[in-house]
């Protein structure tokens, strides 16, 4: 084997090691990692979908329950991919076993890719479970499987990256909920999960367009129902741009050792 091929083989083993360690971690503690999202979304489906939803009437031409399914699945994907990475990586800083990675020849991009992939697996797993729950309440049809899968994957990647960056900056366990409280929750609730932005006055409609989550929710809603508030192509490029930006940012932080080296 050439030296390059050997190096790539090593990188692959490292990546595999990190990912399987991450999957093992969240499946071992599934009661804390998988179950909560299932319970909250079930409640949403019962209360907003069935009880209140029947009085709201159609939205964008969809029954209200069907309208909120994509958003709720997406919230599950977002929070789970984010939390998996932020809590796992922050714990490794807190108990110092991040040093096991820092002393090893694993390049930073492999470390980042491993953690992000771990978060993506959890995000998509929980997303799939929530989707199954949704099927108990309504018939979920998938208009375009390719678009659905792509949007879910990109969303999971983006928020896993956010989780990684937050973990680098975090200095205490309290810090890991800064982004969820001040960024994620407001953006998801204002991101068109529960309403169509057509309902908003012009000014707020314009402001909503600055919210990345809006594009994911709409991309995903298009994948399931073929209906979207915004053009699909725009949604796709905007999510991709965010992913690129956060990847470069995370790699730069790692290169400088921010939050992991003194």
């Amino acid at each position: 084997m050439s030296r390059d091929a050997q190096a790539w083989r090593r990188y692959w083993v490292t990546f595999e090691t990190i990912v399987s360690k991450e999957i093992l971690r969240f499946t071992r503690i599934w009661v804390q990692t998988v179950l909560p999202s299932v319970i909250t979304t079930t409640l949403y489906f019962v209360i907003f979908g069935q009880l209140i939803g029947s009085r709201i009437g159609p939205m964008d031409g969809l029954a209200y329950l069907d309208f909120i399914v994509p958003g709720l699945v997406l919230i599950a994907v977002i929070t789970n991919s984010y939390f998996n990475v932020v809590s796992s990586f922050y714990s490794s800083k807190f108990s110092r076993y991040v040093e096991e990675l820092l002393v090893s020849p694993a390049p930073n991009w492999v470390i980042l890719a491993g953690y992000v992939a771990g978060g993506v697996v959890r995000g998509l797993t929980v997303g799939a479970v929530v989707m199954l729950v949704a099927m108990l309440f309504t018939q979920v049809q998938v208009y375009s499987p390719a678009v659905t899968a792509l949007v879910l994957l990109m969303t999971a990647v983006l928020f896993a990256l956010c989780g990684f960056i937050n973990a680098l900056f975090a200095n205490s366990f309290d810090d890991i909920s800064i982004i969820p409280t001040f960024v994620l929750t407001p953006l998801t609730y204002l991101g068109g999960v529960f309403y169509s932005i057509d309902l908003l006055p012009k000014f707020w409609q314009g402001l909503s367009l600055a919210n990345p989550i809006l594009y994911m929710v709409n991309g995903f809603r298009y994948g399931l129902h073929g209906v979207s508030d915004i053009p699909l192509r725009v949604a796709f490029w905007i999510i991709l741009a965010f992913i690129l930006f956060f990847t470069l940012f995370a790699l730069e932080l790692l290169r400088r050792g921010v939050g992991v080296k003194s």
């Binding site: 990190i18 076993y97 096991e100 820092l102 002393v103 090893s104 020849p105 080296k261």
Partner: protein
């Protein structure tokens, strides 16, 4: 001969301005067993941290087997095994998984990783505890596990930061034997310790670091040869009320049955005993008042502190 480690003009200034390393130059030959000694806060762990990529250096260079840390960090890291001063593992993982994950980070495929983990856990007498979660291992077991973990990628340079802190005497001895053996088989070893007896019995070369500067670097043999006098403690068979004058040997009472003798190293112990016998003093046992290296070490550290006006 190849240098296992070559550190030049290394400076580390921590955030907040504390300069922990003030231009350290240090070379370690391949195959050496090297002790890095120094009081608390001298900069040992900082130096090791920089070498092992856990601490960012401010300026200076580090080379490990001719691989430069700035130009080829992967080459450097692949050749170093680190046993850190403080425990750093996931407390909720079983011991064997900690070792196998570490192998994975070094790019060793799972099947080989399992074989190696077994080999090193057996060598360190931990194989029976392989499925025990880390938090359920005793302190000494955790220390040994960190050695197994550091060896799993078969590094050419093993760096241990106080590996025997809190380890019982028996296990300490077996760790010494293990490390000696490893060194004989070709692994270069750098070790920090506060037990001078450990440095004396294991290491060939030592460096002393104090306040971020290397103040001494020498072989242990050369260093010990510098001791001009030695103090022995003698336990006597009977009481001795009056101390005789024995010329070059200066006697002092500790109590009725114990004497301290300060003797120049140009004299032999035979001379001392002849003189004692002539005066009817019978000796049951003797020991060095202080580990010899310990005495030199204290002298040197104290000298630096005095130079700085830290001690009267």
């Amino acid at each position: 001969m190849t240098k296992a480690l070559d550190v030049a003009h290394l400076v580390k200034t921590y955030k907040g301005g504390l300069q922990a390393l003030k231009g350290v130059d240090l070379a370690v030959e391949e195959g050496d067993f090297f002790a890095l000694l120094g009081p608390n806060g001298a900069g040992k762990s900082t130096l090791i941290g920089v070498i092992a990529s856990l601490v960012n250096k401010t300026t200076g260079s580090v080379r490990v087997f001719n691989h430069d840390l700035d130009l080829d960090p992967e080459g450097v890291k692949a050749r170093i095994g680190l046993v850190p001063q403080e425990f750093n593992f996931n407390l909720f993982l079983p011991a064997v998984e900690v070792v196998m994950n570490q192998a994975g980070y070094y790019g060793i495929p799972r099947r080989d990783a399992r074989v190696r983990a077994e080999r090193y856990l057996r060598q360190l007498d931990l194989w029976d505890r392989r499925d025990t979660e880390m938090r359920r291992l005793s302190g000494g077991m955790k220390r040994r596990l960190m050695i197994a973990r550091a060896l799993v990628h078969e590094p050419r340079l093993l760096i241990l930061d106080e590996p025997t802190a809190g380890v019982d005497i028996e296990i300490r001895r077996s760790m010494w034997a293990f490390l000696k053996d490893l060194n004989v088989q070709g692994t270069t070893i750098i070790l920090t310790t506060h037990y001078l007896e450990e440095a004396e019995s294991l290491c060939r070369t030592i460096a002393i670091i104090n306040h971020g500067e290397i103040t001494e670097r020498s072989t242990i043999a050369a260093l010990l040869a510098r001791l001009r006098t030695e103090t022995l403690v003698l336990n006597l068979k009977g009481r001795v009320a009056e101390l005789p004058q024995l010329g070059d040997f200066v006697l002092n009472h500790v109590d009725d049955c114990t004497l301290e003798v300060e003797m120049d190293r140009k004299h032999t112990i035979n001379c001392l005993f002849d003189a004692l016998s002539r005066n009817g003093i019978e000796v049951l046992s003797l020991r060095n008042k202080q580990n010899r290296l310990e005495r030199l070490f204290l002298d040197m550290v104290r000298r630096v502190r005095t130079d700085r006006g830290l001690l009267p």
